[in-house]
């Protein structure tokens, strides 16, 4: 029944269906977010009722200050840590993935089969947790930020390589040849000729992977435990047991953590969509 409008050429709006869809979307998707916002600005007593109601008195500033101050400004430390983690791991990921994708796409060799296989494995195989800790321990990187950054790079690079490879395939080889004739070294060819052309796909990779790393809970939980190193997702999780009677603060925390992805969404909606659906057509 809902396939009807698809075959229709003239834009004739189906108002009845639209009304139902919008109504359902408000109940299912908007109300939970409204609930977060409303609870975040309530006072403590009203928030503990857990109901969906208009706040009696707005405590935005007070709740914000309280949640930031909680446990010696833990949230600030966590935001700093998460920012370092996200920026560093995504930066490394973008450069290394572009290098791999470039050689993988351009150079035909017997290694391509293996590299492609490894890239796909990285997408499918669940990482072995404790052995990773073991390796990090041997390298002296367990419980350190550099260790976690490298872990995020290792687990996220496959997806980045796939996106870059698909894009590099659209860059004509004549460009490489021209640069080579002009005497560019392989290093310069890549970093000064090819890499700048990857801007649009690089933005996609950056946006998608930043959101992923920023929202990551499992890897910090395993590889960077401890309060001093906490990332925002870990602090949120820890707050949830501490704030059982202070739902206004818990939801203020959730609200604050939702803001960075929201900004990404508002500015880069198209990029995100392009990145996440790139595999859909080819399969």
């Amino acid at each position: 029944m809902s396939a009807v409008p698809l075959a229709r050429r003239r834009p004739r709006h189906n108002y009845w269906l639209s009304g139902v869809a919008i109504l359902v979307s408000i109940v299912v998707f908007v109300i939970p977010f409204a609930f977060i916002v409303l609870t975040a600005v309530k006072d403590r007593q009203q928030a503990s009722l857990l109901d969906f109601s208009w706040p009696d008195n707005f405590q935005i500033v007070q709740n914000f200050i309280d949640v930031v101050k909680a446990r010696d400004y833990m949230l600030i430390i966590a935001f700093v840590n998460s920012t370092i983690l996200t920026v560093a791991s995504v930066a490394i990921m973008v450069v290394l993935a572009a290098m791999v994708a470039y050689v993988l796409q351009r150079r035909k060799s017997k290694w391509n089969v293996l590299v492609n296989f490894l890239v796909l494995s990285g997408l499918i195989i669940p990482p072995a947790v404790v052995p990773t800790i073991w390796v990090l321990q041997k390298l002296g990187l367990f419980r350190t930020m550099p260790g976690l950054i490298l872990v995020e790079v290792a687990f996220g690079i496959s997806f980045a390589i796939l996106l870059f490879r698909a894009f590099i395939a659209t860059i004509p080889r004549e460009l490489d040849e021209a640069a080579i004739i002009d005497g560019a070294s392989p290093f310069r060819l890549f970093f000064q000729v090819i890499f700048p052309l990857l801007r649009s796909v690089a933005i996609t990779v950056i946006v998608v992977q930043s959101v992923t790393v920023f929202n990551d809970f499992v890897n910090p939980l395993y590889f960077l435990p401890g309060d001093q190193n906490a990332t925002v997702q870990l602090t949120l999780y820890n707050f949830s047991s501490q704030f059982t009677s202070q739902y206004n603060l818990l939801f203020m925390n959730i609200l604050l953590i939702t803001i960075p992805p929201l900004i990404m969404f508002l500015f880069f909606n198209r990029r995100i969509v392009a990145g996440l659906t790139s595999g859909a057509i080819k399969g």
């Binding site: 075959a7 609930f35 290394l96 060799s109 669940p126 390796v135 060819l189 595999g279 859909a280 057509i281």
Partner: protein, 310 residues
């Protein structure tokens, strides 16, 4: 690859290659294989080595510093302990339920959102946004909404005279409740992939079918569904992989409880790790690896083969 470089060096008669050679005569590939190196080091050390090591360590009694080979005892323990075995079945139920619902709802939503309806941009945004939100945040929010006495969901159900279940406290419901929240959060991605698939179908096919008098149901089943197959395959594979590995949502909402009724392999791995049973935890990892590959590889092969036949 390395052999060709050696061969070239031998040809030039230079041992180290560090002395500046004649640039025009050197025929090195402009696509140097050392570009693989930094990524390969990180990926190899932190992904490949642990993956291979997991097969060995799953056969040991292990405290990070010192391992003791005990054969298949960890696996025997795993399958003897009902709480752990149920983790395996829960994982399968969770993965099948979430990916099944994501395929069906995602396809319906995609058809809706590619049709002529008012507020299409708004609807697409609102369906997709939860994908980008922190899983822990979503989990905690829905834990509150699903509160059996005070939660918004049961309050609303009360208004229309339905006594809602204890979503997360009732052993029969806990796993399914978490799975439903997973669908809520993830259906936007499935929808997006289906939309991309549907948009790529040439309009002429649908027009031709219409001219030939095909009903809309017929053109859905005979045109849209078969041609959106790559999208369907992507959604199934992606959501199955995600569902089988799922940990953070379950951990944020129930921690595997009540009892062990919503434990999955990933949460068992974490619990055994916390308890210090590193060998057993790693055995859980190996089991997860086997489950994932045993499901995904044949499925992928089967689904993409069908595609060729079409």
């Amino acid at each position: 690859m390395t052999t060709t470089i050696h061969a070239q060096r031998a040809h030039h008669g230079e041992g180290t290659g560090s002395t500046a050679p004649d640039k025009r005569r050197r025929k090195k590939s402009p696509y140097p294989s050392w570009f693989y190196l930094p990524a390969a080091l990180i990926y190899g050390a932190l992904f490949l080595v642990p993956t291979f090591a997991s097969f060995y360590f799953s056969l040991t009694r292990w405290t990070i510093f010192d391992s003791h080979f005990i054969g298949f005892d960890n696996f025997v323990d795993f399958f003897r302990e009902p709480a752990l075995v149920s983790g395996l079945t829960h994982t399968l139920v969770y993965a099948v339920v979430t990916s099944g619902l994501k395929v069906v709802l995602g396809l319906l939503l995609a058809i809706l959102l590619t049709s002529q309806i008012v507020g299409r941009g708004y609807l697409r945004s609102v369906v997709f946004f939860p994908v980008l939100v922190s899983t822990i945040g979503v989990g905690l929010t829905f834990t509150v909404l699903m509160n059996p006495e005070k939660g918004l969901i049961n309050e609303s159900l009360n208004l229309i005279g339905i006594q809602g279940p204890g979503w997360l406290t009732d052993p029969d419901f806990a796993l399914i409740s978490v799975a439903l929240v997973d669908v809520w959060k993830g259906v936007g991605l499935a929808t997006l992939i289906f939309i991309a698939g549907i948009v790529s179908i040439p309009q002429e096919y649908l027009e031709a079918a219409k001219v030939d008098g095909a009903s809309s149901t017929a053109s859905f089943f005979k045109i849209v569904l078969p041609l959106a197959r790559p999208a369907t395959v992507t959604v199934i594979i992606l959501s199955l992989i995600g569902g089988l590995r799922s940990f953070d949502l379950i951990w944020a909402m129930t921690r595997g409880g009540p009892g062990f009724t919503s434990d999955v392999i990933a949460s068992v791995i974490y619990k055994q790790y916390q308890a210090g049973f590193y060998g057993l935890s790693t055995a859980g990892n190996v089991i997860l690896f086997l489950v994932v590959t045993a499901l995904i590889l044949p499925l992928y092969w089967f689904l993409s083969r069908k595609e060729v036949e079409l």
